[in-house]
């Protein structure tokens, strides 16, 4: 039983003369603060926990929801009159999750344990039957989401987050020391590589591509360097767990949220080390004998970029479009979901950042690109934020799309200056 979205209404619309409207920013740029020349509009709203998104070459949007909305976990959004606002919406897939990626004629989606692919027809209508390509991934509560991306050779990369903060004997317990070696790393805290076209693969069929990554949500394949880039969520609670060595302010600022460029066999050092962006050093974790001064991780690679702590990078996208000015070409956009672990200090993040790249390396400091998602001047606790950036995708015309998993808004950022 194959169900296609070949709906009579779409056929009708194709035969009707449509006066294509121009996409215009919303009156207040949808509440976002953007660099000069950019504008933003809300494509869709109130979708709920909109996690990652993917866009077809025709501009249709697929949204993966963390929690089901009306029993569905994936939504297809279509804009019939090309005014930038989604006017058709259909749901399928009865599971929540995070991953959503489109390559060629397949759409890939993840639950917290599996990855499913859906065949797309030539007009990118979707066969909602789905084919399970990966199953049996670990979900033990913490860091349970699975993000996905494909390379040029149709390998699919999946993160499996560690079900722990710092691999302590007792997770998040004051003074509890780290397990040696950390047993979590055999099946989590890393990236696994699978084939995109093989059914029912499990850990045994995969290549354990990278390790020592506590939790990755934002990841992207850089087509310029032909390598995988990931954003790690750094460890929490240095002061709660080791108040002898860290005060509340240090704990709010450390460790850095790191961008890594991965290769087969990469080790980024979790849980044994964390990265201190003030000292520019890999520091021994207090669970493994560290005190905020001792360095460690000689076998672990260095980050490509280090951002302030706890901002929770949930989306990563290398921009290859032609709409934005030259500065943005091949650079990285990062959606920071926003911190919680800085309390009682003010929270940080809740914006989309940008890092310029040249020849596959960062060519300047990171900057805030789009801000104002939270709707607040200062966020002290994350539930105050009205919107929280999560997923990123590039439209066929080079627009940047941002999903929000607090309220379920899909934003589209366009460059309007000539």
């Amino acid at each position: 039983m194959k169900k296609h979205f070949y709906l009579p209404i779409l056929l009708f619309l194709q035969t009707t003369v449509i006066i294509a409207q121009q996409v215009k920013p919303d009156a207040n740029n949808a509440g976002l603060k953007l660099p000069a020349g950019f504008g933003a509009l809300k494509v869709a709203d109130n979708l709920g926990s909109a996690r990652h998104i993917a866009i077809t070459p025709q501009g249709d949007i697929f949204v993966k929801l963390g929690d089901l909305k009306d029993g569905k976990g994936i939504y297809w959004l279509h804009d019939s009159n090309k005014d930038g606002k989604a006017d058709k919406m259909l749901g399928f897939g009865d599971y929540g999750g995070t991953g959503m990626y489109l390559k060629g004629n397949y759409l890939y989606a993840s639950s917290n344990t599996e990855v499913v692919r859906y065949k797309l027809a030539n007009d990118y209508s979707v066969d909602t039957t789905g084919e399970k390509i990966i199953t049996g991934l670990l979900d033990r509560g913490e860091h349970e989401s699975k993000s996905i991306v494909l390379d040029k050779d149709d390998n699919i990369y999946v993160n499996v987050g560690a079900y722990s903060n710092s691999c302590q004997e007792q997770d998040r317990q004051e003074g509890s020391m780290g397990k040696k070696p950390c047993p979590i790393l055999d099946s989590a805290g890393g990236i696994w590589q699978f084939k995109a076209d093989k059914e029912n693969q499990t850990y045994g069929d995969a290549i354990h591509y990278a390790t020592g990554l506590r939790n990755v949500v934002g990841l992207d394949w850089n087509t310029q360097t032909n390598t995988l880039f990931v954003m790690q969520h750094g460890r929490d609670q240095l002061a709660d767990n080791f108040p002898t060595y860290f005060n509340v302010k240090q704990s709010a600022e450390l460790p850095a949220e790191c961008m890594y460029e991965l290769h087969k066999g990469s080790n980024c050092g979790w849980p044994y080390i964390y990265y201190d962006e003030f000292q520019h050093k890999k520091m021994l974790a207090p669970e493994y004998g560290g005190d905020g001064k001792k360095t460690g991780g000689e076998d672990a690679q260095n980050p490509i970029v280090a951002f302030p702590g706890h901002m929770a990078p949930d989306g990563l996208l290398f921009y290859t479009g032609n709409m934005f000015p030259e500065k943005y070409k091949n650079g990285a956009f990062i959606a920071f979901h926003g911190s919680w672990n800085r309390a009682p200090e003010p929270q940080k993040g809740y914006f989309v950042a940008f890092v310029p790249f040249k020849d596959g390396k960062p060519s300047g400091d990171w900057e805030i690109f789009a801000d104002g998602f939270s709707g607040k001047t200062t966020v002290t606790s994350p539930s105050q934020a009205v919107h929280r950036p999560c997923g990123l995708a590039q439209g066929p015309d080079g627009s940047l799309y941002v999903s929000d998993d607090a309220k379920g808004t899909i934003y589209r950022i366009i460059y309007t200056a000539k």
Binding site: S49, G66, D67, R140, G141, E142, H143, E144, Y163, S164, N165, Q170, D171, R172, Q173, E174, S176, D236, Q237, D240, W340, N341, A343, P344, T380, S381, P382, S383, Q384, R388, A406
Partner: protein
């Protein structure tokens, strides 16, 4: 007769004061314990962290059965907690190193803050539950 009722009023007031005074002190002490052991995850306003750390505002976990709540704090949790159809995934470490009085104080604070209006918890309540799970 008039004198007698005045005496009764005085005694009643004294009893009132005696019963609210310790709860007040307990709440104040509980506030400091909350800041030290609970605030990072559950936040200053008790609103928690969406999808990760459960809110402490008007949920049955907080305002309901005392023993269940005390047990939760003593034993921690590695289970996903569902409140109003939302799962919360982070682990909670056991707080068994806190004294009976500290746990009573912090729970009294939580049960009478963030819009909650539930009765105080005493150190005897905590002692009883601790004995039952040891």
């Amino acid at each position: 007769m008039k004198k007698l009722s005045v005496v009764i009023i005085i005694i009643t007031c004294a009893v009132c004061a005696a019963s609210t005074q310790p709860a007040q002190t307990s709440k104040q002490k509980g506030s400091a314990i909350y800041k030290k052991y609970c605030l990072t995850c559950h936040q200053a306003d008790g609103s928690g962290v969406p999808r990760m750390n459960p809110p402490l505002i008007k949920t049955s976990y907080i305002t309901g059965d005392k023993s269940k709540l005390i047990k939760w704090v003593l034993q921690g949790s590695v289970e996903k907690v569902a409140i109003d159809g939302q799962n919360y995934s982070n682990n909670m470490p056991p707080q068994k190193n806190l004294t009976d009085q500290q746990i009573a104080d912090v729970l009294t604070y939580i049960r009478s803050s963030f819009g909650n209006k539930s009765p105080a918890i005493t150190s005897t309540d905590v002692k009883t539950v601790r004995a039952s799970i040891n």
